[in-house]
């Protein structure tokens, strides 16, 4: 049995590859903003118009929303719902699963349509799936080699909590 949840990390190169892909998507779909959130509720990236809400709280609620819907899917005999759509009067959001570990959230308004967002998202989801699969494989390999960012930082940690 694993001790607990595995840790993962991404580099600046990963980050620019992720944001490039999302920028392209926003340009093509005319959506306002895209956020990436991991399944544990942590915000990974925000691209597009800066959100005028608390992004940390938003990320947490997104992960909870997705997890709750996963369980609902299981209750009705589905494995999962790989995408969710929430429609508002002016603002709507579309959520899609990436590599079973990350959630892509797209916010859009009446400058575009659900059809266009969904269509353009398909390629982006594939690109991100590919990118994140590589990131998580690297995290798995790194765990074997035991070279963590905090390796040997025990004294520094003790000092931080004095």
């Amino acid at each position: 049995m694993a001790a607990g949840a595995a840790s993962w990390s991404f580099t600046e190169d990963d980050y620019s590859a992720i944001t490039d892909s999302l920028q392209r998507f926003l340009g093509e779909s005319n959506a306002r903003c895209a956020l990436l959130v991991d399944r544990a509720g942590q915000l990974v990236a925000t691209v597009g118009e800066p959100p005028n809400f608390d992004p940390t709280a938003f990320a947490t609620l997104t992960a909870a929303d997705f997890s709750a819907n996963d369980q609902l899917a299981k209750l009705i005999g589905e494995n999962d719902f790989n995408s969710l759509f929430h429609q508002g009067e002016k603002e709507s959001m579309y959520l899609a699963d990436i590599a079973r570990r990350v959630i892509l959230v797209v916010l859009f308004d009446n400058r575009t349509t659900l059809g266009l967002v969904r269509l353009k998202m398909k390629t982006t989801v594939e690109e991100l799936n590919h990118l994140f699969t590589a990131v998580f494989e690297r995290a798995r390999d790194a765990r074997h080699s035991q070279t963590g960012l905090l390796a040997g930082a025990e004294d520094e940690i003790d000092k931080m909590f004095q």
């Binding site: 049995m1 694993a2 001790a3 607990g4 949840a5 595995a6 840790s7 993962w8 990390s9 991404f10 580099t11 600046e12 990963d14 980050y15 991991d38 399944r39 544990a40 509720g41 942590q42 990974v44 608390d54 940390t56 709280a57 947490t60 609620l61 992960a63 909870a64 997890s67 709750a68 369980q71 963590g148 960012l149 905090l150 390796a151 040997g152 930082a153 025990e154 520094e156 940690i157 003790d158 931080m160 909590f161």
Partner: protein, 225 residues
């Protein structure tokens, strides 16, 4: 599932406060929210029922300082205490890096404590996590009440210890928070056991809340090192 973001230089970790209903999990978060400076914490989110019982979770992000140039950001969650919300309790444990079990010291709540502890072990096992091998601390709350059970009884009931089988771990390890007590020790029967570190608290007055938070955050960061 801690996440290290090299682009924004942040380490993000998830800590879950678990325990029986009305034990003080939400109060712990409210105290942290009220006492840390506003620039080091985010919004306190509560998904609660009209009667203030936690329906899904409470959530509070706090920054606890820098290490190796990285901001350490802890996401604190509570779970619903009522067992009929077990489905949502389990969801919150996904990707957890450290657990605080908030036990209710009142004699009348012993059974509820044990039930919640068993439920925690079961839910963790369903995710394939082993509670005995990850950062885990216990907080005995409500120490000020006249019907609070002695620590010894609470320890025997909620924290009797688990067997240590790895020979390299079989050495007496004193509990830094309680002089004269050990976290790892050998029983008269010859068996080696390890107990989770514990903290006494009166969450409503804030007593013991930060000691607990420090205890678990330190353990989480050390697990990463």
């Amino acid at each position: 599932m801690s996440m290290i973001n090299y682009a924004s230089k942040e380490i993000n970790c998830k800590i879950v406060y678990y325990g029986p209903g009305l034990g003080g999990k939400t109060t712990n978060l409210e105290v942290v929210y009220g006492k840390v400076t506003p620039d080091t914490r985010g919004k306190l989110i509560s998904l609660a029922t009209e009667t203030e019982r936690t329906l899904f979770f409470d959530f509070l992000p706090v920054d606890l300082g820098q290490i190796r140039g990285f901001k350490t950001r802890f996401h604190l969650y509570t779970v619903p205490g009522q067992v009929y919300y077990n489905a949502s309790r389990k969801l919150i444990l996904k990707g957890v890096d450290g657990i605080v079990f908030v036990g209710d010291s009142q004699v009348e709540r012993m059974e509820a404590n044990q039930e919640a502890m068993q439920n925690l072990y079961d839910n963790m096992a369903e995710y394939g996590y082993d509670l005995t091998k990850m950062p885990f601390v216990i907080q005995y709350n409500k120490r000020d009440l006249p019907n609070a059970a002695p620590i010894k009884e609470l320890q025997a009931s909620m924290n009797p210890g688990w067997e240590v089988t790895e020979p390299e771990k079989q050495k007496v390890t004193p509990d830094p928070n309680h002089p004269g007590e050990n976290l790892i020790e050998q029983l008269p029967t010859g068996e080696w056991i390890e107990r989770a570190p514990y903290f006494e608290a009166v969450a409503v007055t804030g007593e013991g809340v930060f000691e607990t938070l420090r205890g678990i955050s330190k353990a989480v960061l050390k697990a990463l090192s």
